[in-house]
């Protein structure tokens, strides 16, 4: 994959998506998202990593304004900034959101079949947002949609244009989804596990495509995944999320060369490919004991503390702030752990 530097370096302008203190709760239980801060710059790819129930998809849905009405959402800032200006996403009604979705921000999901209309040709589905948002006539929209199909490397686009989703393989469907999402040139693309259901060879093609398009179109990408190897292939920056809080954040190199949080380390230690050559674990995987806490049963201090082998009394009682690790150059690497860096606190 190409080695484009993080957009922050290339472009000091305001981020495309900027979120501060995003909190989401359902009913009286503890919040499922608790104080999430995120920034994604132009052309930057941020990977949000975590396991099921960590809150990564809720974060994406909150940004897209797609959470169900029962969700109580609060944020001090939830800003989409693009060429058309800044929009405060938090204050928008459904109709205003509809004008943004598929236009200035778009989303692709793990299973393309759930978001493709089975009775509409794929060509019309790609052309439709152009007619709706940009007021193109049918002919212009068709030309642009065909162009987009070419751009996502769908072979024989003219023939595919008239086909229905069920006539396409899983890999092609995901390409069509990406074409649909990007046809209006949104400033922000949110991809929620877009390659998880695909075979490795197809996954590799789709990862390459996303990487290529965000460079070509300068799209900010929030890429949600549970797979650290995928993160390693495509991320500029990484946010590791656990039980509704970001526990560690940094550039790819910071997370993969200097992982600080015990949860980040535990995710690595659970990965078979790492253990294959790892001596200290004795060839044995090191799963994290226990389970992600339920919203009704969140620990008071660090939410990972009950499963953390390094936890001390303080971890159970006080929430650690997300801050630059001691001794770091303060260049964007942040960790929420009282015990980091481990080699120092453990003496």
């Amino acid at each position: 994959m190409s080695e484009t530097p993080p957009a922050q370096d290339a472009d000091t302008s305001a981020p495309v998506l900027s979120i501060r203190d995003l909190t989401v709760r359902f009913g009286q239980a503890a919040p499922v998202l608790d104080g999430i801060d995120l920034d994604i710059g132009r052309g930057e790819l941020l990977c949000v990593v975590g396991e099921s129930g960590s809150g990564k998809s809720v974060t994406a849905l909150a940004a897209m304004g797609l959470l169900p009405p029962a969700a109580q959402i609060s944020a001090t800032r939830m800003m989409l900034g693009d060429k058309a200006g800044d929009v405060d996403l938090a204050g928008l009604g459904e109709r205003q959101l509809e004008r943004l979705r598929g236009n200035r921000m778009a989303m692709v999901f793990q299973e393309p079949m759930t978001s493709l209309n089975p009775v509409m040709t794929i060509g019309r589905q790609i052309a439709e947002p152009l007619i709706r948002h940009h007021g193109l006539d049918a002919g212009e929209a068709r030309t642009r949609a065909l162009e987009m199909l070419r751009q996502v490397h769908v072979p024989a686009p003219e023939q595919r244009y008239a086909q229905y989703p069920h006539q396409l393989s899983g890999g092609l469907r995901q390409r069509v989804m990406i074409a649909m999402a990007l046809v209006c040139r949104p400033a922000l693309l949110i991809a929620d596990e877009p390659t998880t259901a695909l075979d490795v060879t197809i996954q590799s093609q789709i990862l390459r495509l996303i990487d290529e398009l965000r460079a070509e179109l300068d799209t900010a990408v929030m890429f949600i995944t549970h797979d650290l190897a995928v993160v390693s292939e495509i991320a500029d920056r990484v946010a590791v999320i656990y039980a509704g809080r970001i526990v560690e954040e940094g550039r790819r190199a910071q997370i993969f060369e200097d992982p600080q949080h015990p949860y980040t380390l535990s995710l690595f230690a659970s990965m078979p490919r790492l253990v294959a050559e790892d001596v200290s674990g004795g060839g044995r995987l090191a799963p994290i004991g226990g389970q992600v806490p339920a919203p009704g049963n969140m620990p008071a201090g660090c939410r990972f503390a009950p499963r953390c082998p390094f936890a001390v009394t303080r971890c159970m009682a006080e929430v650690p702030p997300l801050a630059a690790p001691a001794g770091s150059a303060g260049d964007g690497h942040r960790v929420a752990c009282w015990r980091a860096p481990l080699e120092e606190t453990l003496g």
Binding site: M1, E3, E51, S52, S169, G170, G171, D199, V200, T201, I202, Q203, S204, Q205, L207, R208, H226, D227, L228, A229, V230, S232, E233, R252, A253, F256, E257, D258, P259, Q260, P262, L265, S266, L267, F268, A269, S270, M271, P272, R273, L274, V275, A276, E277, D278, S280, G281, R284, L285, A286, P287, I288, G289, Q291, P309, F310, P341, L342, E343, L346
Partner: protein
């Protein structure tokens, strides 16, 4: 390899889909699963790996070939004989829900096969159920619950307990951990390893995940379009793949230590052929960077290349240049390694 518990030879399966259309799903697959060993079967969607799992247990009938289980010719058995033998072989699926009746409590679901095969009587049945729950790391109280009360990890533990209830010698694991989160997946993989060590059970471990297969299997078979294209000891396959498809598959897997300095990724184009329309020669030839005229007309046999316990179905295996292993923890930083060591030590101390 230990003496085989399962021996497939020339196994073939095709389906007709109305009219003259025939899908060739499995084409002459031969392999042996050693007793107490794990054989990893890898391939992409449509490669035939799940069909081979089902054929092996005669859940689906093969068109041709032989299946030997512990030396017994499975295809020659009558329905009743087969049913008796089924006790010795089990299968676990990706979705544990598919094999658990939602209306039946866990305890009842576990007791049923024990009673059916008359493995225990009376109070011993209950005792065995508790023992099984303990074996897979669940508590005796869980027997009163229903499947929907469990999340993915515990549910897969129940499916494993149910498979173990009949004391099988072979378990076919068909994408058994594919739907689980990494930390839960690690728990289940460790459990499967423990069971093998303690009970000597053999696994035919079917997965699309190369990392998982590498971790679990002693021997690996790589499937492409219903044929075994390469087979051998796991270490050899990963260190020095001799079939161009294996090489492509390994190169496509995302690397944990990508980033600056990592080798650039090779472009992978195309998709496998349709099982309805397999080419006359090697099925991989149209995508293969090494293909020559012969490859397009003449299909290489599964043994066209052989060396040290490994075989490959490729005319050009011997000529392929070495392919460096993609994944290497040599790229792991000292800080990373040190903290991983601390984590392992802390875990061990917590367990002790």
């Amino acid at each position: 390899m230990t003496p085989p518990i399962l021996e497939l030879s020339g196994l073939t399966k095709s389906y007709t889909a109305g009219g003259a259309a025939v899908a060739h799903v499995v084409g002459g697959v031969s392999l042996k699963v050693g007793r107490g060993e794990t054989y990893g079967l890898v391939g992409e969607s449509g490669s035939g790996k799940s069909t081979i799992g089902r054929l092996s247990l005669r859940l689906v009938e093969a068109d041709a070939g032989t299946i030997r289980f512990g030396g017994i010719d499975l295809r020659a058995l009558s329905g009743r004989e087969l049913k008796r033998l089924r006790r010795r072989m089990q299968i676990i699926f990706q979705d544990p829900f598919s094999s658990l009746d939602p209306r039946v409590r866990i305890g009842t679901a576990l007791a049923e096969p024990i009673r059916l095969h008359r493995l225990r009587r009376g109070a011993e049945v209950d005792q065995r159920v508790e023992e099984l729950l303990a074996t897979v790391g669940l508590s005796p109280a869980h027997r009163h619950r229903y499947p929907h009360e469990f999340s993915g990890g515990p549910r897969q533990r129940i499916a494993i307990a149910r498979a173990l209830a009949v004391e099988p010698e072979l378990i076919v694991c068909d994408e058994a951990v594919s739907a689980l989160d990494v930390s839960i997946q690690a728990q289940i993989l460790n459990l499967l390893e423990d069971l093998q060590r303690d009970l000597g059970v053999s696994y035919l471990f079917i997965s699309h995940d190369l990392g998982v297969v590498r971790h679990m299997a002693a021997r690996i078979g790589v499937l492409y379009a219903g044929r075994l294209v390469e087979e051998g000891p796991a270490e050899t396959i990963f260190a020095d793949p001799r079939h161009p498809y294996t090489r492509m598959l390994l190169a496509a897997a995302p690397r944990l230590f990508a980033g600056p300095g990592a080798a650039p990724r090779t472009e992978i184009a195309g998709a496998p052929p349709s099982p309805f329309d397999l080419p006359p020669g090697c099925a991989f030839a149209s995508r293969c960077p090494f293909a020559e005229a012969r490859c397009r007309t003449e299909a290489p046999g599964p043994d066209s290349y052989r060396d040290a316990g490994r075989r490959a179905a490729c005319w050009r295996s011997a000529e392929l240049p070495p392919q460096a292993a993609e994944e290497s923890t040599a790229r792991m930083s000292p800080a990373f390694r040190r903290r991983l060591d601390l984590l392992h030590t802390a875990r061990r101390e917590a367990l002790a």
